[in-house]
Amino acid sequence: MREVDLAVVGAGPAGLTAAIEGAKRGCRTVVLDMNPRPGGQLIKQIHRFFGSREHRAGTRGIEIADSLFHEAASAGVEVMVEAEVYAIHDSTLEVVAQTNEDSLVLLSEEATTSRSRPLSIAARRIILATGGAENALNFAGWTLPGVMGAGAAQTMINLWRVLPGKKILMVGAGNVGLIISYQLIQAGGEMVAVIEATSRIGGYGVHAAKISRAGVPILTSHTIISASGESRVERAVIAKVDASWRIVSGSEQELEVDTICIAVGLHPNARLASLAECELCYSPSLGGWVPIHNSRMETTISGIYIAGDLSGVEEASTALEEGRLAGICAAASLGKERAGDYDDIKAIEGRLLGLRSGPFCQHRQDAKQELIGIGEAQCPKQ
């Protein structure tokens, strides 16, 4: 059995920053990620990030992933890719890893196909940073090939350089739907329309403006009725919805499309946290069922911390900050404190507050505050 001070599950922005802070404070730290490359969603973000200079705004996500990985490696973090954690019990992580040796750092571009083997890792502290997962949408024909999550389409174009279709319908005008529509145009696809069931565009106006001047209609108060086709999507029927979400009869129209991307939000990917028996609570503003955590990012299970979209669906910038917070607090609980930790935590909290302000983000601050309030009452005391 491998023994480490800190095991982090998920090598996205939250997991990597958590590991960096842990390792900097002298924790033997391992990061496990099921994907072939570290970076989480960052590796397919080819657009410039919003946020502040501290969050590397103006930088493309893919560049942030690379620099985080190098920062982690130089801090002494061991990153294991293609390593899937399938259970957590008694501070032990059960892993299926694609490695020959326990300590091997794999960074192959190609997915290895052989030698998967079980591995147990005993960790004094665990940080779960398993991210978010896309919500599904059910409609007639939703199982046809050509209907996919917007994130899946983004993986195809930006990671594997495959355009999923030529004429594309995007369902959902939040930031994910708008940004991925833009990237599908850049990849050579034709966006036939972006539809949004609510009466307003949910994402940033600047993203909407970008695809609008590229000639893409954004239809609010519209939903998808059905998809149909011989062996894959060939057309979609959309219609208007009224203020009480009823289809306006007679408003149906058929669109000739071969791909339908679904961008109707994300939810915290809490399956592993749930397996580890962390208590969850339901928070619509944070994307659904989310593990309860306190201000130190610790869950109701002593020694298990969370960060990033798992602790509420937000942005990469907030994930970077929360990861650092979780890493510092987990290390401190092992007695591995550093002078200046208190100031670092206060600075992170201040930046998080800034990121959660304004008309788009204040509701997340309120929801987080509520969640942490529950956490302070229910989570183990320091």
């Binding site: 919003f50 200079r53 103006g58 493309r60 850049q186 009466s199 403006a209 239809l219």
Partner: protein, 168 residues
């Protein structure tokens, strides 16, 4: 598709003119100046740092809309490629007799060539006039956001915000 858009997917002229990043007509008449079409309070501030003249201010909180000090802006165009929202444009009403130039970020391949005649589009993506490509700037410092400048009839300078991509 020929369906009217119910809720506007781009800001109106009125909203833009009320925003703190929009220069006055008087300043526009003087020559090259940026137009910042960022009217929502979103957490973002790279434009502030991009301007060597310190003509753009966001300050605290980070959700403030960018404020343009129109007298400090020299129209250097450096901020245009740095806005993550691709919402900054450089307008020069004094480009030539009767024509104005509009510079905009253009992250599509293939890039147009200098001197090429293209169709300019408005914020809704509708082609509204013919345009001549004056410049295509894509130095390393742009971070892979090329900036294309086109010359258009002066009356379209406040409408033109891009060009038709090939094949459309």
């Amino acid at each position: 598709m020929s369906q009217a858009i119910e809720s506007p997917s781009y800001p109106s002229q009125q909203e833009l003119r009320n925003a703190p990043g929009y220069p006055s007509q008087k300043r526009l008449e003087k020559g090259p100046v940026v137009v910042i079409e960022c009217i929502e309070e979103i957490p973002c501030n790279p434009c502030e740092q991009a301007c060597p003249q310190h003509a753009i201010t966001i300050g605290e909180p980070i959700t403030n809309c960018p404020h343009l000090d129109e007298d400090k802006c020299i129209g250097c165009e450096l901020c245009v490629s740095q806005c993550p929202g691709l919402a900054i444009f450089l307008i020069d009403l004094t480009h030539s007799q009767g024509s104005a130039s509009v510079a905009f970020p253009h992250e599509y391949l293939p890039l147009p060539g200098k001197g090429q005649t293209v169709r300019a589009v408005n914020r809704a993506g509708e082609p509204i006039c013919s345009a001549t490509v004056v410049r295509v700037q894509n130095p390393k410092t742009n971070g892979q956001t090329p900036v294309v400048t086109v010359a258009v009839p002066r009356k379209y300078a406040t409408e033109v915000r891009g060009i038709l991509r090939p094949g459309r």
